[in-house]
């Protein structure tokens, strides 16, 4: 039987708050839907200016068709 198992969390809970990275400063030009962002290493890269993988405004975002309380989410 499994009753001797230990389930320990090391990061979740208060330590996990704010663990996700957010935000960027949009700048001009990598083509449609992309913007140049300088990385700390100095090398610029292109990233999306809006949601989705690479920034495509796919039809599921924010329509409330799935996810709790009208918020889209990718799990299921």
């Amino acid at each position: 039987m499994k009753r001797s198992r230990r389930v320990v969390l090391t990061m979740m809970g208060t330590a996990a708050a704010g663990a996700v990275s957010m935000g960027f400063v949009p700048r001009s030009g990598c083509g449609p839907g992309l913007t140049v962002v300088p990385g700390p290493g100095g090398r610029p890269y292109c990233r999306a200016t809006y949601g989705g993988f690479g920034g495509a405004p796919h039809r599921f975002h924010g329509h409330g068709g799935h996810g709790h309380g009208g918020h889209a989410h990718g799990g299921g």
């Binding site: 039987m1 990061m11 208060t14 990233r47 999306a48 690479g54 068709g65 799935h66 918020h71 799990g75």
Partner: protein, 385 residues
């Protein structure tokens, strides 16, 4: 299998919040609900849940091996041909799967029936692996449930072991739609287990993934994304702006691209074709297959791509009894034989049988007053008595 009413712990909300389970109540409604639990015998768990789960997983792998080599099947699944090489390469490279969840109809008597396979982005793993176990320990301690109670649950330790195998010393990124509390919670939990396996990790929102001009995906610190867990469906990845860059990048994805085949509800029809009359499968056909008529006027209609029950319709004798709204269905539908869920005190439970690194090792239960499990369905704990 029984549904047993019990006393809830008076402090369960604060216990949940302390361990980071902050989506226990959603829009004022209970998601975690411990006013009752489902009880199983050990024989039921081992013989009717664990063994069939392993067998279905093996059948699914056989299906992928077949589909990869068969363009007709990939077309039936409406997988864009631009991504066939990505999928095929990940399969032939043996890119590993971390996890998946089979949704089963089970009443404790007849064989469990596969309703669908959440192969790509299953959630509810934290509450299954951790909070459900905390409930068991505290419920025994407080004499809410018998002291002999156990639980089908070794998900947590198997995740840690799986990460050790998958990591191979690489830095792990975890990406998803982090504005969703539920998805952020799932990512935080998986990151926790990866950390316990010794992996260095970085969380990132899926939209914050960048593309370096010399090729390759990077994070906000311009670090190359070598190995990434993504809680974001493959079919969305394929359609999004960076989809076309997937094939050019050396990034390894968890779940791997070959899981795009198994997360498609078309596999329900393909499994039935390959393994007809298997006791754990329900008859299922693509809607445009003339054989779908064999189901008669009673069936469940499911979009090839759908999550949380969206756009699923339950049709009996030609009459739509229940239909969930949603944005899916553009790619087509499958029809699956109607397998009415068992009714326990007016509640319809669906069992989630978890696979970690292809090992069946845990159980979750969602119940609803509605016979289609949706994102409002409540999570109830279980025990082996």
């Amino acid at each position: 299998m029984q549904r047993l009413v019990c006393t809830e712990r008076c402090d369960w909300r604060s216990t949940a919040e302390q361990c980071g389970f902050d989506f226990h109540t959603i829009d004022g409604e209970r998601y975690w609900d411990e006013r009752a639990y489902y009880a199983f015998t050990l024989d039921q768990i081992e013989g009717q849940i664990e063994e069939p789960t392993a067998e279905i997983d093996a059948m699914c792998l056989e299906l992928v091996a077949y589909a990869i080599e068969d363009e007709h099947t990939l077309r039936r699944l409406k997988i864009p041909d631009a991504f066939w090489p990505l999928i095929s390469e990940s399969w032939h490279r043996d890119d590993a799967s971390l996890y998946g969840r089979l949704d089963l109809a089970f009443d404790g008597r007849g064989p469990a029936k596969l309703l669908e396979y959440n192969a790509d982005t299953p959630t509810s793993i934290f509450e299954t692996a951790v909070f459900q176990w905390t409930w068991l320990e505290q419920a025994i301690e407080r004499q809410i449930i018998p002291s002999r109670a156990d639980q089908f649950n070794s998900i947590h330790e198997r995740l840690i072991e799986a990460w050790k195998k998958l990591g191979e010393g690489r830095h792990l990124h975890l990406a998803g739609m982090t504005e969703s509390t539920e998805d952020a919670g799932t990512l935080a939990y998986l990151e926790d287990t990866a950390g316990q396996a010794g992996l260095a990790t970085t969380s990132i929102d899926i939209e914050d993934i960048g593309w370096r001009d010399d090729g390759g995906f990077v994070d906000l610190d311009d670090r190359e994304i070598e190995l990434v867990f993504k809680l974001y469906p493959w079919e969305w990845m394929f359609r999004d702006a960076f989809g076309e860059r997937l094939i050019k990048a050396p990034t390894r994805w968890i779940e791997p691209p070959w899981k795009a085949i198994l997360s498609n509800k078309g596999i329900l029809a393909l499994l039935w074709e390959m393994f007809p009359d298997h006791p754990n499968l329900l008859p299922a056909y693509f809607e445009d297959d003339p054989n779908a008529a064999r189901l008669g006027a009673s069936f469940v209609r499911k979009p090839l791509y759908s999550r949380e029950g969206a756009n699923i319709a339950l049709i009996r004798e030609g009459v739509t009894l229940v239909e969930q709204e949603g944005p899916y269905g553009e790619e087509g539908f499958v029809r699956q034989a109607l397998a009415p869920l068992p009714n326990f005190s007016g509640q319809y439970p669906v069992l989630g049988s978890w696979l970690i690194d292809h090992t069946a090792c845990g159980l979750s239960i969602r119940e609803d007053e509605n016979p289609i499990t949706a994102n409002t369905s409540r999570f109830l704990p279980h025990a082996i008595l």
